[in-house]
Symmetry: C2
């Protein structure tokens, strides 16, 4: 951070301009910067460290469930992208095309991968022969490119970082189980680590991934009442396998097609974290992914013994947590504001009087709760406080979602709820027809998000909110990012 | 691995065709596969796991020396690449150009980054204002693209994975110190973790990185007597800073230019590891980066108690090492060959007679040394054996390099040495003129590799081996990858 910038600048309040608040937080918490590459972002050290923490946790869960990491080429030849019809129709309009290598025009243009189903399929066709080769459980961490018109840091950018899992299974049942297993891992990571409550469910036909039989997603409600699709998991059936000629010999020695899945989450999760937990003082980070979990700030640090005590406390905590001691010559007040802007979950203050009393002050970022605790118990107190932050963040987000979830049985009720209580999730009954799905969106401004699983289906009424015919599903609608 | 493939296929012997041996090892050890994306490789799980181990070790060293990770865009606008004249001349002929986004022609074409100096400089111009902002010590893990004509897995491919450090310093001294510090980290990693002895030195003027004041490299001698440039570290002076208008206010309140470095290593190191340690039975991996450090193979596993004993031993070892138990129904002989192909450093065998005697058999991959040890001491014996593998690999490689390093004072001596003892390093005295450098290469086939630091300069003779004028440097020449 530049010395000049080292003044705490105010950010636009959320209720004045939510989009500007978001951009301010991204910039002023030093998460991103812009460059001359339009639509792409620079992820700065503080932002990238959040991504590294996310990667570390998820990668361990992927490996614990038997997945292996690989790396596929960045480019996809046009003819390869064209192999699966629905897939190419979905992605061709938004890919970046490489046409020249050095001074030479390529004989076939290459797109920069928007997603890698086609590359994985080509490889699987090479390496899958027998039922003994299945399942293949591959994952890749990489960047992908989609030529978006309107971009915003983390939420929608022309290049973003993500992971994409691509798996092949002997049977449809195995593949569906995998699809839902990974959806569960995403949901669990969001709820426990990011402290973001999510709705799990299936996308409607019109909202599926290009080439999928079924797309499942987790949806999270942001501060402004819009939903963020935070992760997706797709079941492909054997469509790609047929298009790419992937076959294996089963136990009965018959040649059959395997069944496929793919699933992904991206740096978009950082955007979701900002818009779920952030406030008018800046970022608020859940401890599991915070680059700095605890900042230790000495009070009256010029006084004898203060710096030593702060250092010793920070060192002790540093054995268990990600800790930063700020002994710079800025004032404590400046430092408080700076680390609030950066969303550090727990601030620890220690000054002459604290030292005398053998204690320290701990303040949790999200609710400014201040406690005093003995230095001798620092580690256990800090652990408890960080747990309290995660739980507090989750409860706050859940309460906000509950307050902004409206169960409606008529179009008028939807309009009234949104007008009177603000944007949010609308739960309604739907006949399953795309015409009604479109009509609801046209009339109310909210679009379909997802259909929760059978066991969470609740019969709000017998009929479709739009056409009055028998209803098939309870479904969530919302405005969305 | 496919069931059909599950026969141990022989690989081409090194001395029959070294290039084919290399390709065979890459393919048959399941490190890479090809795709329809010409010149790019698929890094398969076993190959990627080696890269993950490399990343983990290096990333920790970078962080321990104060570096932070960031992520810059994949694309560089043509005008940005053009800002530093020497740099663009070096890279423009070998970049891939994106000209279209979806159906639209871009107003300015973008290259896929071949390296990111220009992007870092643009960002540094935004964030560096004062001496208090320095140093900036950034690193990025990513893939880069260079449109090579001839490609080989790991050694030279159109896309490869690497890390690129980019740092800014207040003074030239600080920047030079950083350049050499990172060179040392690379050398140390090669020698200790990859067990590859390296020569550290400065590149000649003609061989510098495009835009650098000085380029330093580590060079390693491969089995076939060719040198592999395994890592580079560049000092840029303030050339890029001037081109990009990066200035800061120093302590005397004057506006001055900072000094810059960049440094990188890539998946090429995997190629170097294969060509340094591999043999006619396949890959040989140094324990620090081996995905499987120890394979446990039960002998006569159908006999009572064998599988249990093997499992218990593998579990105990698994607490300290990366261990695989192979209890598949292949024969022990098949398994031996399979894990030799894959270069697993230590094989542990345990059968009925071993169990009775409370012992196991441990065989080190690189020299087939077989020892018998008590099960109760498995962990300490395994640790000692893995250390012995690292040391043995290093000594073997060093002995090979020593045997193929020729100190020459005439062109004729170079020719004779290469003819009689095979390719290798040639140490010679050089006047420093490019004409002589070129002439030596033309006459002998070996090109300049690097000039070792002052303290390692040894005066072989007073005069240049080529022109007979006073010599300036002792320098290493070799054929190179």
């Amino acid at each position: 951070m530049s010395a000049e910038k080292k003044m705490v600048e105010a950010i636009t309040p959320m209720d004045v301009d939510f989009a500007q608040w978001y951009t301010d937080v991204c910039k002023k918490a030093d998460l991103v910067d812009y460059s001359s590459v339009r639509g792409c972002m620079i992820i700065r050290p503080y932002g990238y460290a959040i991504w590294e923490n996310i990667q570390k946790i998820l990668d361990a869960r992927f490996k614990a469930t038997g997945h292996e990491n690989v790396y596929m080429p960045l480019f996809i030849p046009e003819s390869l992208l064209n192999k699966e019809k629905e897939h190419v129709q979905g992605f061709a309009p938004e890919v970046a095309w490489v046409t020249h290598g050095g001074d030479e025009k390529l004989t076939e243009r290459l797109c920069v991968r928007p997603t890698s189903e086609t590359l994985f399929c080509e490889h699987y066709a090479n390496i899958i022969r027998s039922y003994r080769d299945l399942p293949k459980l591959y994952n890749q961490w990489c960047s992908v490119v989609r030529w978006e018109k309107t971009t915003r840091p983390f939420l929608r950018s022309r290049e973003f970082l993500w992971q994409e899992g691509h798996t092949m299974h002997a049977t449809a049942e195995d593949a569906i189980e995998e699809t839902l297993r990974m959806l569960d891992i995403y949901a669990d990571f969001h709820e426990n680590d990011l402290a973001i409550p999510v709705i799990k469910g299936r996308k409607t036909e019109s909202d599926k991934f290009a080439g999928a039989v079924a797309t499942y997603a987790i949806e999270a409600l942001m501060h402004d009442g819009k939903s963020l699709q935070a992760g997706t998991s797709h079941y492909f059936g054997d469509g790609f396998a047929r298009a790419f000629g992937i076959q294996y010999t089963d136990r009965e020695n018959k040649l059959v097609y395997p069944h496929q899945t793919s699933w992904g989450v991206s740096t978009r999760m950082i955007g979701g974290t900002i818009m779920t937990h952030g406030d008018n003082d800046g970022l608020v980070l859940p401890p599991a992914v915070a680059p700095i979990q605890i900042v230790v700030i000495p009070i009256a640090q010029h006084k004898e013994g203060v710096l030593e005590a702060a250092r010793s406390l920070a060192a002790k905590l540093g054995e268990h947590f990600r800790v930063k001691l700020d002994d710079s010559d800025y004032t404590p007040g400046w430092k408080f504001a700076e680390y609030e802007m950066k969303g550090v979950p727990l601030r620890i203050e220690i000054g002459p009087r604290d030292i005398e009393a053998g204690q320290f002050v701990a303040v949790t970022r999200h609710n400014r709760e201040k406690i005093v605790a003995p230095i001798s118990e620092a580690v256990s107190v800090a652990a408890e406080r960080l747990k309290a932050v995660r739980d507090g963040l989750y409860e706050k987000a859940l309460a906000n979602r509950t307050a902004h979830t409206y169960t409606c049985t008529t179009i008028e009720e939807i309009k009234t709820a949104l007008r009177e209580h603000g944007d949010g999730f609308v739960r309604l009954m739907w006949c399953g027809d795309e015409a009604c799905e479109d009509s609801i969106k046209e009339q109310t401004g909210v679009g379909s998000r997802c259909i929760p699983p059978e066991e969470e289906q609740e019969k709000i009424s017998d009929v479709c909110i739009c056409c009055g015919k028998p209803a098939k599903h309870m479904i969530y609608f919302a405005k969305a990012y």
